[in-house]
Point group: C2
Chain length 222, copies 2
Amino acid sequence: MEDADAIDRRPIVRQSLHDAVVSRLRDMIIEGVLAPGTRIHEGNLGRELGVSRTPLREALKFLASEGLIELVPTRGAVVRRFSPKDVRDGLAVLGTLEALAGRLACENAGADDLARIRLLHDEMMRLYAARDRLPYFKLNQEIHAAILRSGGNEALSYVHGILQARLKRIRYIGNDSPEKWAGAVADHEAIIAALEARDADALARTLEAHMAATWERVRDAI
Amino acid sequence: MEDADAIDRRPIVRQSLHDAVVSRLRDMIIEGVLAPGTRIHEGNLGRELGVSRTPLREALKFLASEGLIELVPTRGAVVRRFSPKDVRDGLAVLGTLEALAGRLACENAGADDLARIRLLHDEMMRLYAARDRLPYFKLNQEIHAAILRSGGNEALSYVHGILQARLKRIRYIGNDSPEKWAGAVADHEAIIAALEARDADALARTLEAHMAATWERVRDAI
DNA sequence: ATCGTGCACGCTGCATGCAGCATTCTTGAT
DNA sequence: ATCAAGAATGCTGCATGCAGCGTGCACGAT
């Protein structure tokens, strides 16, 4: 039995350096600071990040497992390039995963989950009205992640997150024309409606269509 | 044009030590040599594998990204435990992924792919008749992987492979009763029939049902 | 001038060294 | 005997050292 009024024993969240470096590198890749095809120089990049080669190398292995980086023997790490086919295939899988997540969400999401997603949605619409593109984009990602989480399947969230990370950059590039953006917004209205109605079939269909449309929106940008 | 009688130019496949250690560790975890919950001692394990701590640590990070290992700050690496819910959720995702793969396979698989899968299937049935359990199990995995590959979606194969690795051990434990085994075999007859008929809907349905049945077969073993 | 060869540099891959923290054993006090 | 405090041990996390390989450049031969 735990002592009720014991002092706070939570670990000092010295977020491990490993996690910090992984996150940082992932962001650098997604944001394009490290462009696809870039060969990573361990010495320079380590110096830039303020860590030695060892933890940097460990972070690179981690990201290689996620598929964001390729390890070429005797040549080190290279930022992975995604071909149009890679993107299309990835979006197809994401569509299927989100469709499943939508079904689970209709079944398992609590009222609080729905309320939170509604808030995110409304805020995102406000950002759309203001044409505030980057925050819109981030909130968009958050909404999808929230739907995933509310389904309550951790393995699903995990694989979704990996594919999501791979395609994040490309999807951001995609929404550049006003019509495409309006189309994506319309999709989202349908999504939130189906979710709040807990109409699993409609939500699954809508999410999958949203991904298919995403491909149409980005295909020329690649 | 290649010179016909040129000397063998294949690269000397000095498989990188990293890959070797990763594969080796993955096998040890799947086979249960490293049991779930085991805390990994870098010094000992490294000595046992004949590598120093550095490449071992890098391999551990790689596997942590796959979810086979957890990294606990200041305590190192621990072999991940999967709860019954983890297994159930993972199988649900696998079912959806295989259903998609089945559709893609019906659409994209070449005649040679189908022929190869048929060969694997027949060989597996031979092993079933002989009740040769471990080879049966391995061939079973191969068949599913072959269906995945024949769909031609690399992202799909990738995420499937990760979840597959997580659950491999548990699925092996599952098929221990004769009735369960017979049920799995029956599933596979339906799978190959639908595939050869290129009946996408039927194949998708069958594969998903196969996964649901897998859960029923293993749920008591966990 | 062009092609081939050898040398030098730079980078990766791995081993080892070292500091810091957690855990456990020991010792002393109650 | 029990418990607390301190010391010692052992492990992780990170830095650095070193060998081997790949690459590019210079020099020489044709």
